[in-house]
C-alpha cells in the first residue's frame, strides 16, 4: 500500500516539474577552450540583479554544435560554443531538426608549443614541426613510421634533444586544430617531398597526415592543460601543446616556441602573424531568442568585453580586428540564418 503511495507521489513530482517548467536562465554548452571566456561573460552578465546567470556546460566543441542542433524547446541548450567551425554535415543535422542558427565569431586562440624557461627555446619552421610529430612520413617515396628520435635529426639547427611533446587527447578541439594546421597544412601540403608523396597516395590535401605519432614522441596528457604546464615546469627537456592563455598565465616559467620565425605573443596572434591559431565561435538558436529571456543581452555583453582592453583579452583570448568585431556585432542584431553556402567561404 505505501509503495503505491510512494510511486504515486514520485510520479506527481515528475509531472509537476515537467509541466511547470519554463526556463528563465540561458543554457550554454560546448568547447572547453571557449568555456573560460564564456564563463567570464556569464559571470559579468549575472552581476545584474535583474537577470539570472547563464549556466555554462563544458563537453567539447562537438557537444556544443550537436547539442544546439538537437531540437527546439527549453530542454535543449540555447547556445553552443565551439573552437572549430561548424561543418556542412553538422549543419545538415540542424536542418533535419528544423533548428535555425546564427554563427557568431568571438575571437581567436593561439595554439603554442612551449617548454620550461630552463630548457632550450625551440625555433622551428612549421614544416619541421609537422615532420617531428606526424605519425607517418615519406622516405624515398614510401610512407613509413616516423623515424626521428631527436629534434636535431630533422634539422641540425634544432636542439640535440629527444622529441618528447605532451599534448591533448583526440577528443580535444585543440588537438584537431593543431593536427590540421601543422601536420596537414604546414607539412604535408607544403613540404615538397611530402606533397608529392601525398599526391601519390591519392591524398591531395594531406588529410591523412593528421594522425599524431603514437610511439612515445607525442604523449597524450589528458584534457587538463594545467597538467601539461606542471609537467613542463618539472621537465625542462619536454615540450607541450596547449592554448595561448595557459602560456600567458605562466609566462614567467614557460616560453613559447618560435614557429616560422614568429613568437607566440598576444600582438603576433592578434595581428594574424602567428600561424597556429584558430577562431572561437558560438552558435545561437533563433527559436529560443525571446522565449528564454535575455539571450540578446548576453550577446551584447560579449560585444562590450571582446576588445583588446577587455576582461576577455586579460584572460588570454585574442580579439578580432575591428572590422570583424563590427561585422559580428551586427550579426547579433540581424541574426542571419547560417546556411551551407556560408560555411564554404
Amino acid at each position: 500500500m505505501y509503495k503505491n503511495l510512494f510511486a504515486f507521489t514520485f510520479l506527481t513530482i515528475l509531472m509537476n516539474v515537467s509541466l511547470a517548467h519554463s526556463r528563465d536562465y540561458i543554457s550554454i554548452a560546448g568547447s572547453s577552450t571557449v568555456l573560460p571566456f564564456a564563463t567570464i561573460i556569464a559571470e559579468t552578465f549575472g552581476k545584474d540583479p535583474t537577470v539570472k546567470t547563464p549556466v555554462v556546460e563544458s563537453g567539447g566543441s562537438s557537444v556544443g554544435k550537436k547539442g544546439v542542433c538537437e531540437g527546439i524547446g527549453t530542454k535543449y541548450i540555447d547556445i553552443g560554443n565551439a573552437s572549430s567551425r561548424m561543418k556542412t554535415k553538422e549543419l545538415a543535422f540542424c536542418n533535419k531538426n528544423k533548428v535555425k542558427l546564427t554563427e557568431i565569431k568571438v575571437g581567436y586562440d593561439g595554439i603554442v608549443v612551449a617548454n620550461s624557461k630552463k630548457g632550450t627555446l625551440l625555433e622551428i619552421s612549421k614544416a619541421d614541426l609537422g615532420k617531428a610529430l606526424t605519425a607517418k612520413i615519406p622516405v624515398n617515396g614510401k610512407w613509413v613510421d616516423n623515424p626521428y628520435k631527436k629534434w636535431s635529426d630533422i634539422n641540425p639547427s634544432l636542439p640535440n634533444l629527444p622529441i618528447r611533446v605532451y599534448g591533448p587527447p583526440t577528443t580535444s578541439g585543440t588537438r584537431a586544430s593543431y593536427a590540421e594546421m601543422v601536420n596537414q597544412k604546414g607539412y604535408c601540403a607544403k613540404d615538397k617531398v611530402a606533397k608529392a608523396a601525398s599526391k601519390a597516395r591519392g591524398d591531395k590535401k594531406g588529410k591523412k597526415c593528421r594522425a599524431m605519432r603514437t610511439d612515445g614522441a607525442f604523449i597524450e596528457a589528458g584534457e587538463q592543460d594545467n597538467l601539461i604546464v606542471q609537467k613542463l615546469q618539472e621537465d625542462p627537456k619536454a615540450y607541450g601543446i596547449f592554448g595561448f592563455s595557459y602560456l600567458d598565465q605562466n609566462s614567467d616559467t614557460l616560453q613559447g616556441a618560435v614557429i616560422s620565425k614568429t613568437a607566440p605573443t598576444f600582438e603576433n596572434i592578434a595581428g594574424n602573424n602567428y600561424s597556429v591559431s584558430r577562431a572561437l565561435y558560438f552558435y545561437v538558436k533563433h527559436a529560443h531568442i525571446g522565449v528564454v529571456p535575455n539571450i540578446d543581452k548576453y550577446m551584447e555583453k560579449w560585444v562590450q568585453n571582446w576588445d583588446g582592453d577587455g576582461i576577455l583579452a586579460d584572460a588570454g583570448m585574442i580579439p578580432m580586428p575591428k572590422a570583424e568585431r563590427a561585422k559580428y556585432a551586427k550579426a547579433m542584431k540581424d541574426l542571419p540564418v547560417l546556411t551551407a553556402d556560408m560555411l564554404k567561404k
Binding site: 516539474v17 556569464a42 549556466v55 556546460e57 584534457e223 594545467n226
Partner: protein, 431 residues
C-alpha cells in the same frame, strides 16, 4: 605390505627442518603483508601531504584595507536601497578613489595599472554591507577588500620580483604600488571569507564552494529520500516475501550486477529517461538526485539484505511462535534489529554518491553555475565538479583553491563515514 618404519631420529630431523622452513615461510608472508601496508600507508601520507600543503594556503588570502567614503548619491542613485539601484551605483569608483589616496598614482596610465590591484568584486562587497546596515551610508569607514589574484600570487612569492618585467603578469608600476600598500600596513593575510561563502567565479580571489556545497546537499537529500525507502522495501520483500523461483533469482542476479555497472551509464539513463522522455530541465539537483539514487540502490539493497538475514532466526521463530503475522514479525522485530546495518550501507552509498561526477556529466550538472540554488529545481553543480573545474582553469590561484576544496570534500566524506561507524556502534546488538 611390510613397510618398515622410519627410525625416530631421522623422522625428528625431517620434521624439524620442515618446521623451520614453514616458520620461515610464515615470516616471509608476514613481511610481505607489512610491506604492502607500509606502501599503501606511504601513498596515503603522500596524498594527504600534497593536498594539505597546497590546500591550507588556499584557505587564506591577501586583503587590503581602504578608507572608503560611502557617498550616498553615487552608491545608490535611485535612493531606494534596492539591489538594482546599488548595482547601478559607482561603488568601484569610490574604492579606486580610496586606493588612489594611498598610492597617489600620476597620470592616466598609472591609474590604469593601479586598477588591477583590487578585486573586481569590491563593489559587490560594498553593496552587501549597505544592505546589511544602511546607516553606514555617507560615512568614511575602513573596509577590507580582496586583492586581485595576480597581486595575491605576487605577495605569496609565486610571481617573482626578479623575473624580467615582460615575462611577469604584473608590471613594475603595480609592484611599486603594492610595495607602498605593504609599507603603509594596509595589506593583511587572513582567513579567506570567500572560500566557504562565495559561489563559483572566474576570479579566483572571490571564488568559493558555497553554491557547489548546497548543490551537493540538495542532490544528496533527493538521492536519500528516493533510494532509502525503495532500497529497504526491495530488500524486505526479497528477504521476507519473495517466492524462491526463477524470476526472483534473475532479479537478485541483476541487482548484484548493477552494483558493478560504471556510474556514467546511469547518467546516460538519466539523460534518456528523465530529460528525454519526461522533458525535465537539465542541470537540476532533482535529476541529479534521481540518477544517483538509481546508482546507490544496489548498494543499499545488498547491505540491507545482509542486515536482515543477519537477524538470528530464533527471534523470527519466537515471534511466529506467539502467533505474530509475517508483517508483524518483520515490522516489530526484524527491521528494528536490521536498521543499523541498513543505515550503514545507505551512508556508505551516499558517501560514494557525494564523490561522483561521471553520471552528472550527462545531465548537465558539470557546469559553471554562479547563482546559489534555492531549491531542487534550480540549476546547481556539486563539490567534485567544482574541484574538477577549478583544476582546469589557467589562473594560478586556482591551484591552491582546488586543494582547499578537496580538503572540504574529504572532511564531508570522513564525517559521513564517521556517522556510519557511530550509528553502527551505538545501535548494533550482538548475540
Amino acid at each position: 605390505m611390510n613397510k618398515s618404519l622410519m627410525n625416530a631420529k631421522d623422522a625428528e630431523l625431517i620434521v624439524k627442518s620442515s618446521v623451520l622452513k614453514r616458520r620461515r615461510k610464515d615470516k616471509r608472508l608476514k613481511f610481505y603483508g607489512r610491506s604492502t601496508i607500509f606502501i599503501a600507508l606511504s601513498f596515503l601520507v603522500f596524498l594527504f601531504y600534497s593536498i594539505f600543503e597546497k590546500g591550507i594556503p588556499g584557505f587564506f588570502q591577501y586583503y587590503v584595507t581602504l578608507d572608503v567614503n560611502l557617498d550616498q548619491k553615487r552608491l545608490d542613485p535611485k535612493g531606494d536601497l534596492s539591489h538594482e539601484s546599488l548595482y547601478n551605483g559607482d561603488g568601484r569608483g569610490l574604492v579606486l578613489e580610496a586606493l588612489y589616496k594611498v598610492i597617489k598614482p600620476k597620470g592616466r596610465k598609472e591609474k590604469k595599472s593601479a586598477k588591477k590591484i583590487i578585486s573586481s568584486n569590491a563593489d559587490v562587497r560594498i553593496a552587501k554591507m549597505i544592505l546589511n546596515d544602511p546607516s553606514i551610508l555617507g560615512k568614511t569607514i575602513p573596509i577590507t577588500f580582496a586583492v586581485d589574484d595576480d597581486i595575491d600570487s605576487f605577495l605569496r612569492g609565486y610571481i617573482k620580483r626578479d623575473t624580467p618585467e615582460s615575462d611577469r603578469r604584473i608590471n613594475d608600476k603595480v609592484i611599486n604600488f603594492v610595495d607602498i600598500l605593504v609599507k603603509e600596513n594596509k595589506v593583511i593575510y587572513k582567513f579567506s571569507d570567500y572560500i566557504l561563502t562565495g559561489s563559483a567565479s572566474r576570479s579566483p580571489e572571490i571564488a568559493g564552494i558555497k553554491g557547489a556545497l548546497i548543490g551537493s546537499i540538495l542532490t544528496l537529500v533527493v538521492c536519500f529520500f528516493l533510494s532509502f525507502p525503495l532500497g529497504v522495501a526491495t530488500a524486505v520483500y526479497l528477504e521476507g516475501f519473495a517466492p524462491k523461483n526463477k524470476i526472483t533469482e534473475i532479479i537478485e542476479i541483476n541487482i548484484n550486477n548493477l552494483a558493478a555497472v560504471p556510474s556514467v551509464v546511469f547518467g546516460i539513463l538519466g539523460l534518456a529517461i528523465f530529460i528525454g522522455v519526461f522533458g525535465m530541465p537539465r542541470s537540476i539537483p532533482l535529476i541529479g538526485g534521481m540518477v544517483l539514487a538509481i546508482m546507490t540502490l544496489p548498494t543499499i539493497i545488498i547491505s540491507s539484505r545482509a542486515a536482515i538475514s543477519a537477524v538470528p532466526p530464533s527471534i523470527k521463530d519466537a515471534a511466529y511462535g506467539v502467533g505474530a503475522s509475517k508483517l508483524q514479525t518483520l515490522m516489530h522485530h526484524v527491521i528494528p534489529l536490521a536498521i543499523p546495518g541498513m543505515l550503514t550501507g545507505t551512508i556508505i552509498g551516499m558517501a560514494r554518491a557525494l564523490g561522483e561526477t561521471a553520471p552528472l556529466l550527462m545531465i548537465g550538472m558539470v557546469a559553471f553555475i554562479v547563482d546559489i540554488p534555492n531549491s531542487i529545481q534550480e540549476p546547481a553543480t556539486v563539490l567534485p565538479v567544482q574541484i574538477f573545474m577549478w583544476a582546469d582553469f589557467a589562473e594560478r590561484m586556482f591551484i591552491n583553491k582546488t586543494s582547499s576544496a578537496t580538503i572540504i570534500l574529504l572532511v564531508f566524506l570522513i564525517l559521513m563515514n564517521a556517522i556510519a561507524v557511530f550509528l553502527r556502534n551505538k545501535l548494533e546488538r550482538r548475540w
